[in-house]
Amino acid sequence: MSSGFFVHPSLFFFAGMIILPFLRDLHRKVFMVALPVAALVTVINIDPGIYGTIKTSSLDLIAGRADKMSLMFAHVFTLMALLGTIYGMHLRDNWQILAAWGYVGSALGCIFAGDYLTLFLFWEGLMVTSVCLVFLRREKEALRAGYRYFLVHTAGGLALLAGIFLLYHNTGSIAFGPLPASSASWPAYLIMAGFLLNAAVPPLHAWLPDAYGSATVVGSVFMCAYTTKTAVYALARAFPGFEILIVLGVIMSLYGVVYAVLENDARRLLSYHIISQVGYMVTGVGIGTAMSLNGTCAHAYAHILYKALLFMGVGAVLEVTGRSKFSELGGLWRYMPYTFIFTLVGGLSISAFPGFSGFVSKSMVVAGAWQSHLIWAAIGLTLASAGTFLHTGLKVPYFIWFWKERPPFDPPKKEAPVNMQIAMGLTAFFCIFIGLRPQALYSMLPFNAEYHPYTLYHVMESWQILLFTMLGFFLLIKKLSPEPLIGLDIDWFYRKGGGLFLKFCRGGLARLENGLIMNIHQTLFLPLLKIISSFSAWNDQKVVDGIVDGSAVSTMALSNKLSTAMQSGVLYRYLAAMLSAVAVIVGITIWMVK
């Protein structure tokens, strides 16, 4: 327990959601900058410690676990909230900002949670608020993607909840800490499944391009930062050193690269590269050494900024031109040059060019793999990093800003809105700043591990890989020209599967009902029923009725005989009966008195 002062940074954003709708014009704009800045300053000034503990008879709920790891994630989350809010400042629609702030608040809640129940609460908040950012696109396709996103994440959330219950049942504790790899069983695997789904690890990843490609322009800038990185944080907390994560991480880093080749929509391409980049972080968690966990945290920090910058750039193009498909874009360099430069900075950062943020963070994870003698993992990740440059550094800028002499539509009259450019400029500044001054980033890292990215050999290695990838790109560019096609992914199973199930119900089941069951009913059951019913009718008429009628008839006959015998109407017979009855009673009385 620490005595330091602690205000939960989530509270800023939740309070902001209530206040923002009452503000107009300049006040609103000032508030939109001031609130994330206040949260950021608060995060910077939090002393490590455990805050906000609620003790019940059987559970300890902890809302504020502040240590180096949670503070590092909170730092970039609040910084990103500032940049994203500036990017969305031109919106007259408050709803998107409100949803985004709720989303940021939930993510911070997850980061500071010290027990699984608190984590779960904010985890679900993350899902509910982010799905709003998809719905707010207010298009048919977005509505559909939003529902799919919602259903998939509900399933993941339930897996997490089931894991938490089982964990509590087995151990009596729900403290959010490392689950030992040696004795892992169902509770751990269910919790891990919930985390892996949010981290978009294949085959639980298809929601990501689906939702981020359909969300609002501002919404996807926020979404690309929080959900997956919260999951990475959760994995780093609970599952460091789980070797399965190394395999999954390397697979996912390559999986995203392959699908990015097939992608025609710029935002979906960037989404597949989130999967690829999160693969590095998941690998780092799996390796589990101080170096690689540091790499995971550093890469998450850098990734949030450069990926947001890329989504900002592509989003600005979508905002201005209404297009995000490469096959419908091209030749914009003359019309949106600033957006081009900012996007390029994002592309060079994600590609780990020396001097940009990705270079100082991604290489830590790869170095962690080399250090642990996981040569195949290090080679796999390096292969993925060539693919990253190929797509995000080359394909995205080339097919949006060059490729064609002129845009294949009326060229836009103006650049992106000023606030968007400011946000992009600031984000680009941070990407370069981290790349040039890695110590600023490294000083926040949770573990002690010496690392120097700028060795001559490492820089030379990077330049060779990157520039020869570029050579390959320009030699094979004809193969890459955008085609208006989509690539099938795992979501096929539930998108087509759902349709097939509906078809099965409407077609198969209905035909089964109308054809087979009706047929069996008519040929087998109906005649059988008729036989049974005719038997019961006969039974009813002859047997039951016979018995009833027969007994009625005989009762009538008996009572007729009795009544004629007893009620003859002859007086002396009545008198004789009375006297004999009196004689009998007197006789009995005398006998009894004796």
Binding site: K140, Y338, F468, T469, G472, L485
Partner: protein
Amino acid sequence: MIVKFIDWARKNMFFVKAISYATLVLLVVADLFVPREHPHFIGDFIPGFWAVFGFVACALIIVVSKWLGKKFLFRPEDYYEDEEIKEGRGHV
């Protein structure tokens, strides 16, 4: 300023290309003289290994992915839509 520079580069493509190729050659030549401090595996000893790696990686990713796409994965853009529209439930 940016537009002017790009314009200039596009008009002098030959010059840009020459510089680019010269840089590539220079990189591989320079790699002969870079000291190997912490070699992790055999590739770290071969000058120009990472250049070959980068080029092969790029070609491999493009060719394999496109092959996967053409062979198995590519579908028309309205692939997911059309059934709902066909059946007259294309609205929300």
